[in-house]
């Protein structure tokens, strides 16, 4: 899109969009590192991920201030208006994703010796498609592609299926050995957190689509397979 007559306006929008991408990047590494900490039982890394969430919060509140100022001073219209509203929504989705990743990292620090590698691997396996969803939706945002956004939106089912299968798998470990229950409960929450991250990615996809196209991805088209 060509530049505004008032060049400072274009610069402000670019800065906002760069901040969203920065938040996306941080959230992405938080998911990867929290599960890496889990898989390697790296408590230092887990602690570091928890701290990283603060950075996300700071950028989010700064983005919010930028948005308020843009609305008050520029009275955005058309695509600019949709971009700014989407940025507001997307930043809070990313902040939530950060919270959920932080929670995984916190729980990774609380696991006892009864947890086995299969249990850890189940979560790590599930984290891969979730990270991919976030990566894809950030690509959709960066390239302003409604097609890519729609693809993310349509693939949330895979995550839901993955979650259901991890849930069942986890139950078998708990049935085998009740001493695993405490750690297992933490890991079920981790799986749930990953599933929620997938939902937030879907929301982001909806905002990207709205920003670019100006229409809403209808919730009706997408088949839901929630079983838990």
């Amino acid at each position: 899109m060509s530049d505004h007559i008032v060049s400072a306006y274009s610069e402000e929008l670019e800065r906002l969009s760069a901040d969203i991408m920065k938040m996306g990047g941080i959230a992405e590494t938080m998911i990867v590192d929290s599960t890496r900490a889990l898989s390697a039982n790296d408590l230092e890394l887990a602690k570091e991920v928890v701290l990283r969430d603060l950075l996300l919060d700071v950028i989010e509140s700064d983005a919010e201030r930028q948005i308020v100022s843009l609305i008050a001073r520029r009275q955005p219209m058309g695509h600019d208006l949709r971009m700014i509203l989407s940025a507001m929504k997307i930043s809070s989705e990313l902040e939530r994703i950060g919270d959920l990743a932080k929670n995984i990292a916190k729980r990774a620090q609380r696991l006892d010796d009864n947890v086995n590698d299969e249990m850890r691997n189940a979560i790590v396996r599930m984290s891969k498609p979730v990270s991919r969803q976030l990566n894809n939706v950030l690509n959709a945002y960066a390239s302003a592609s409604p097609e890519k956004a729609k693809l993310v939106w349509e693939s949330d089912d895979d995550i839901d299926n993955h979650y259901n299968s991890v849930f069942r798998e986890m139950l078998t470990y708990l049935v085998e050995d009740p001493r695993r229950i405490t750690a297992g409960a933490h890991m079920l929450f981790m799986a749930k957190n990953l599933e929620r991250i997938g939902d937030h990615c879907t929301n982001i996809a909806e905002f990207v689509y709205y920003q670019v196209v100006g229409d809403y991805l209808s919730e009706l088209e997408r088949p839901k397979q929630d079983q838990v």
Binding site: Q75, M77, G78
Partner: protein, 274 residues
Amino acid sequence: MDTTQGTPAMMDDTLTLPRSADGAQRIDCRNIKVFYGQAQAIHDVSMSFPDRAVTALIGPSGCGKSTFLRCLNRMNDTIENCRVEGEILMDGENINDEDVDPVLLRSRVGMVFQKPNPFPKSIYDNIAYGPRIHGLANGREDLDAIVEKSLRRAGLWEEVKDRLTAPGTSLSGGQQQRLCIARAIAVQPEVILMDEPCSALDPIATARIEELIDDLRSRYCIVIVTHSMQQAARVSQRTAFFHLGNLVELGDTNQIFTNPREKRTEDYITGRFG
């Protein structure tokens, strides 16, 4: 203020044409072309204006929006070398037909200008002048009622009721503009045209006029030309974007300002026009 209960003089519809139902088109323009000498200012514009709704005409300076607005009550007749082609239908009648009296037409299609232009007369006479020459009042009492009703509808009555004999020009700019609106209303028009009615007013006076436009919407077909996109977004239900004499896009105001279909509209409303 209840604007639905009028005095007999204002509620008497024998002098006005029958009001059309909600959503009906009050004015229907077909293939309008306007020329100033050799230069064409409007290129084949067709659009209609619904009753009981505000339509905003927006676009950069020189895009033809004011020229188009002035076609609707034949104000272009007064310009020496201006020629209008096409049909402008009101109640099925072409307003450019030879047997249409432009003075009578302008009482049906009132106009408010950028700069308030009250007559150099008293507040009372500013309002009473039109009804008097059009024979809309039967005697003094009737005329008083029309003056009061018109000033009430224009939201000015409370501010001027104790000084109706003061000159219209003694009022503030915003009050003068509301006086001009009251003057337009007094002759029972069907359509009110507004050409940048707030551009000479401060934000408070502007807000008053906008509130008034919203009130008047329940009775009239209103067409407003404005340079302020925010104003168009605030007061209108439909917006038409003009560029270089063409009607580029016409749509629901909400749609035009959040998701315009045409790139030229998008560029204009977001401030990207080169």
